[in-house]
């Protein structure tokens, strides 16, 4: 815990106010129904298509804004980890791929952002994945970030909310990315041992080693509509069984039918749902509503 108290806490940044990045008059196309959508309206609708209800992927800043009360949160700086531990190279060097990804999302960044704030008035810690950073893949930095998030939650006696959006393990870190599966499970275990709620919000996509570790261990598991969630990739399954996959296979609604998630929640109801869950779990005996027992008749 020492790095948290000594290293991270003094460096906590000021409250982040997301800046407007796009002019008001831009149009976006829904990747599902191809409807043209007015950007400002899309933003007001939390990036859910007005026409077909498709939930688009969110970057961490937008995701955190939705999760926390009044869109207010404080990001924490994550521990520095060894970059490119295997000196991995495919058609391109991993170190170059990392540099390119970091050029877009900030020096030293990786596929996970951790922040704390309040949800329904309760302190809460959230760890959200950045799918645009190498497909949200989990390597050492992400594993270390999840451990940091869990320890911050324990330190603040706050629930931990994790929002995965990840294709799975970071192949370029080889076996060390596989080892993030037990490491992330250990992170979650620290929160559970402290008696704190661990809530997972599955978003598109949550697959591979990410789904088969911390993402499926929530005390409560929510999923956004239409997200792809599963262990094996659909192409791999099709190649193995040599037939077409059933309609809606590995989508949130399919997982709900198969008993793998608690509820599928529209993005507009996510904050309110989380606030209610946290309140139910963290405030089991609200003091304001003590009703006196009826007196027995004399």
């Amino acid at each position: 815990m020492s790095w948290l108290t000594n290293f991270v806490l003094p460096k906590i940044r000021a409250v982040v106010t997301p800046k407007r990045e796009v002019p008001d008059n831009l149009w976006d196309k829904c990747p599902k129904c191809e409807q043209m959508l007015f950007h400002r309206e899309l933003e007001q609708n939390l990036f859910v298509c007005h026409n077909c209800g498709h939930h688009m992927r969110l970057d961490p800043a937008r995701r955190l804004k939705i999760l926390f009360d009044d869109g207010q949160y404080t990001k924490i700086e994550l521990p520095k980890t060894v970059q490119d531990p295997l000196k991995f190279r495919d058609r391109k060097r991993y170190s170059e791929r990392l540099k390119e990804a970091q050029a877009k999302s900030g020096p030293g960044s990786d596929a996970l952002v951790v922040a704390h704030g309040r949800i329904g008035g309760h302190p809460a810690v959230a760890a959200v994945f950045d799918f645009s950073f190498m497909g949200g893949s989990m390597g050492i930095a992400v594993g270390e970030g999840l451990i940091a998030a869990a320890r911050l939650a324990v330190l603040q006696e706050a629930p931990l909310i994790v929002v995965p959006a990840s294709g799975g393990a970071r192949m370029q870190e080889g076996i060390l990315s596989l080892m993030q599966m037990p490491r992330s499970v250990l992170a979650v275990e620290e929160v559970k041992e402290a008696g704190l709620p661990y809530i997972v919000v599955l978003t598109d996509p949550t697959t591979g080693g990410v789904s088969a570790s911390f993402a499926m261990l929530g005390d409560v598991t929510l999923a956004e509509p239409g997200a792809v969630i599963g262990f094996a990739g659909q192409r791999v399954i099709e190649e193995t069984i040599r037939e077409k996959l059933p309609e809606g296979f590995q989508r949130s609604e399919y997982l709900l039918e198969h008993g793998m998630v608690d509820m599928v929640v529209h993005r507009k109801e996510l904050h309110e749902t989380l606030a209610r869950l946290i309140d139910l779990l963290r405030r089991p005996h609200p003091s304001a509503e003590v009703v006196p027992l009826p007196q027995p008749a004399a």
């Binding site: 190279r89 037990p182 250990l186 088969a212």
Partner: protein
């Protein structure tokens, strides 16, 4: 008929020549006896040279060798009073993961083992060692049994990966693997895992998050198969050899990375050439791994596992 790998062909040719000459040889023909001795020495030297510098890709092929000892062989030779236990109590019995009670060096233990099968019929029965959720849920059930009775857990890891299929997904493959990892990490008894062939990704770590992990010299352990990695990162199936290099999946590299705790030397020419010798060596390595853990209490064993995994990955190669 012995199965030879492509890169073993020159050795195979020498050895079959030796066989032919032996058949021809009359007891008194010194020339032939000399020639046999010469060829045998040559074959032996070639075998030694080849196996001393196997490439990562060649190790992948050796690890998948059909005659390599499988979980069943290790259990038969190393575990007495073997009592298999079946079922996950939810859906079914998955024979891709063997599980049960037995004695290892006189001590009661719970044994888990991924079994690929050794002929067409048994390969189908064991689903080629690719477990479905039932297999991982059975593993978890048996680990909880071990915990209840204070029995060490020994796991033999040998799988290409968890089974990628529609029913496996429908029944929660991801959740089953996650819970199995969690069960390993929660154990208050010693757990030792042995990577005996292929340690294939999530399907392997599900029963390998152990206090101590030993690995055979030519086994492999990886986040993805070299073929899978090649098709994703190189966008072609043809770069599996390069992918095998890049992934650092050999026992020697994994020891340097601190992911495994010991490399178990294989007999000359690989475990498939001298199966009995390989099995005995692994038995000794398991005993060496288990010994120091037996004196620790439940909390210390859990802390040992936790500290080991939390420390992992702080340095590269």
């Amino acid at each position: 008929m012995r199965h030879f790998l492509d890169f073993e062909r020159p050795i195979a040719e020498l050895e079959s020549k030796v066989e032919e000459l032996r058949h021809l040889s009359n007891a008194g023909d010194l020339n032939i006896a000399d020639e046999v001795a010469r060829l045998e020495t040559k074959a032996d030297r070639l075998l030694r040279q080849t196996y001393a510098k196997l490439s990562p890709w060649q190790k992948v092929l050796v690890a998948r060798h059909p005659e390599r000892p499988h979980a069943r062989d290790y259990i038969d030779a190393l575990v007495t009073d073997w009592t298999p236990l079946a079922g996950d109590r939810c859906f079914g019995e998955d024979r891709a993961i063997l599980g049960g009670l037995g004695r290892f060096r006189g001590r009661s233990v719970v044994v888990l083992g991924q079994e690929k099968g050794s002929d067409t019929e048994s390969r189908v029965r064991h689903n080629f060692g690719m477990a479905k959720p039932e297999g991982y849920r059975k593993a978890r059930r048996l680990m909880e049994l071990a915990d209840r009775f204070g029995l060490p857990v020994i796991a033999f890891v040998d799988t290409a990966g968890a089974y990628p299929g529609v029913e496996a997904e429908a029944r929660g493959q991801a959740e089953a693997i996650a819970r199995s990892i969690e069960a390993c990490l929660r154990l208050k008894v010693p757990m030792v895992a042995a990577i005996i062939g292929e340690g294939g990704s999530g399907g392997a770590i599900a029963i390998a998050a152990a206090n101590s992990v030993v690995m055979l010299e030519h086994a492999v352990y990886s986040v993805i198969s070299p073929e899978g990695c090649s098709s994703i990162l190189w966008r072609s199936a043809e770069n599996a050899q390069e992918a095998a290099e890049a992934l650092k999946l050999t026992a020697q590299d994994l020891l340097k990375l601190g992911v495994i705790d010991a490399v178990v030397p294989e007999p000359l020419g690989g475990a498939h050439r001298q199966r009995g010798e390989a099995i005995a060596a692994l038995g000794d390595a398991l005993e060496r791994a288990l010994q120091p853990l037996l004196g620790l209490d439940g909390a210390a064993l859990k802390a040992h596992r936790r500290n080991k995994y939390l420390a992992m990955g702080s340095k590269g190669l």
